[in-house]
Symmetry: C2
Subunit: 139 residues, 2 copies
Amino acid sequence: MKYLHTMVRVSDLDASIDFYCNKLGLEELRRVDVEAGRFTLVFLAAPGDKEAQVELTYNWDPQEYDSGRNFGHLAYRVDDIYALCQKLMDAGVTINRPPRDGHMAFVRSPDGISIELLQAGDALPPQEPWSSMPNTGTW
Amino acid sequence: MKYLHTMVRVSDLDASIDFYCNKLGLEELRRVDVEAGRFTLVFLAAPGDKEAQVELTYNWDPQEYDSGRNFGHLAYRVDDIYALCQKLMDAGVTINRPPRDGHMAFVRSPDGISIELLQAGDALPPQEPWSSMPNTGTW
């Protein structure tokens, strides 16, 4: 038995690829357009960690997707939580839970999927602007 | 960057451990009781695949968790999809999408988290009772 992926539905494929790949840093591994079912599947993973994937399901007919509380988040370990949060913030992503402790941050995908970022190894020393940045919304 | 886990909230920890471990076959790796926050975290993974985990969050104060459409499912590759579906069915789990094709099945956790099971390697030859079993509900 082996974990393959977590599937999330996305309402705007371009915006989602921009978020998950360009901003967050995942890589696109594989894309399947299913004409008969009018949907596209895109498989993503962190660079060098291709065994644990995220599957984006994009239905070609417009849909909006709500969030539920039974799903919590996807969590990734990152090399430099400050650098990644800065990159995300510069790209217009709200840092819902800033890494005030140098250890943990939360952001959300365009469809409201919560993403936890955890600093690899020991927490980084507290650093502005993160130390004094308040929470925004929920995650 | 590395995938760590998908977190799901559970309203009944015993029922969830029974589903994810006793029935589905994941293993409990680690459990953390956080008295101050009145919650318990339990980390699970498929045997031999400890790098890709599921984190159960159990809040001690009763809560019910709804489902949203932005989250799709967790997917696992399994060695014998018929044997696992039989074990799940015998244990009272509804097989929402039976493995009619010997390849894919869906079930749900007690809190409605959809779980996709995918047969390792080639699909198995069609076999009753699965071949003629209808879908139940959604997944």
